[in-house]
């Protein structure tokens, strides 16, 4: 029924995760950095669901479900923090948000 090899899903997941890491490292806008984290979470979810499907177990799907819930909570709090940062500093460039550096 499903002839797609498991490794294809894993490769796609690795590529998407790599893209998320690249965005996290190279982008300078705090919102885009945040979206890169969401991309990485999605890549991990794909791995969970691919293994759950291939092993005939439902636990991987439950894990992916919890990842989704935590991602929603994280997005709400993170975006509120971004709003507060913007209100106080009037910038979204992470280079300028370095008050913890010195």
């Amino acid at each position: 029924m499903d002839a797609v090899p498991l490794s294809w899903y894993l490769v796609l997941s690795a590529v998407l995760f790599g893209l998320g890491v690249a965005g996290f490292l190279f982008r300078r806008n705090i919102i885009t950095v945040f979206m890169s984290i969401e991309l990485m979470l999605n890549a991990v979810n794909l791995t969970f669901i691919a293994f759950a499907s291939r092993l005939g177990q439902v636990d991987g799907q439950i894990f992916a479900f919890f990842v989704m819930v935590v991602a929603a909570a994280e997005a709400a709090v993170g975006l509120a923090i971004i709003l507060v940062i913007f209100r106080n500093r009037a910038t979204l460039q992470i280079d300028e948000l370095d008050s913890m550096k010195n």
Partner: protein, 162 residues
């Protein structure tokens, strides 16, 4: 049939993911990210995880991305200015990324295709049964987590009037 669907939507996901990372404007990144999530939802459906495919569209592409777009609109985020303040990421970023992908590739190559442990299909019925029996306590705890997240977001974003 399934490999063709996989290839089409995997290519779409990678293309949209590239655009998420490469676009200068945050709103463009957000819209391309919705493309990634929808193509991943199709792949979840292909894997038989129908409940999560629907949840992916409703929760991720619906709720979370609307939140992102709302915040981008609220802070009126323009195109990001290129800066070279972070030398470390530019010098070390690509080698580290190549290293990460190499390790992942090695692991995937060495992963042996395991035999199915159980015959459960992973339909919405199976997921619901597991969620409300084996994983009932974690499920209830997530509701507290979400409540705390709501309170935290409200407290953080609340503007005090002077």
């Amino acid at each position: 049939m399934a490999p063709a669907i996989f290839l089409v939507f995997a290519a779409l996901a990678v293309f949209c993911g590239l655009n998420v990372v490469l676009r200068r404007h945050p709103i463009a990144s957000a819209l391309w990210l919705i493309g990634v999530m929808v193509s991943l939802a199709v792949l979840y459906g292909l894997l038989g995880a129908h409940f999560l495919a629907v949840a992916q569209v409703i929760v991720y592409a619906g709720a979370i991305m609307v939140l992102f777009v709302m915040v981008i609109m609220l802070v009126n985020a323009g195109a990001e200015q290129p800066s070279n303040a972070s030398r470390m990421a530019q010098v070390l970023g690509l080698p580290l990324l190549a290293g990460l992908l190499a390790v992942l590739g090695l692991v995937i190559r060495r992963a042996t295709p395991a035999a199915a442990l159980a015959a459960r299909k992973g339909t919405a019925h199976d997921v619901g049964t597991a969620l409300f029996t084996t994983y009932l306590l974690p499920f209830e705890i997530t509701s507290i987590l979400v409540l705390i997240a709501i309170l935290g977001a409200v407290v953080l974003a609340y503007k005090e009037k002077h």
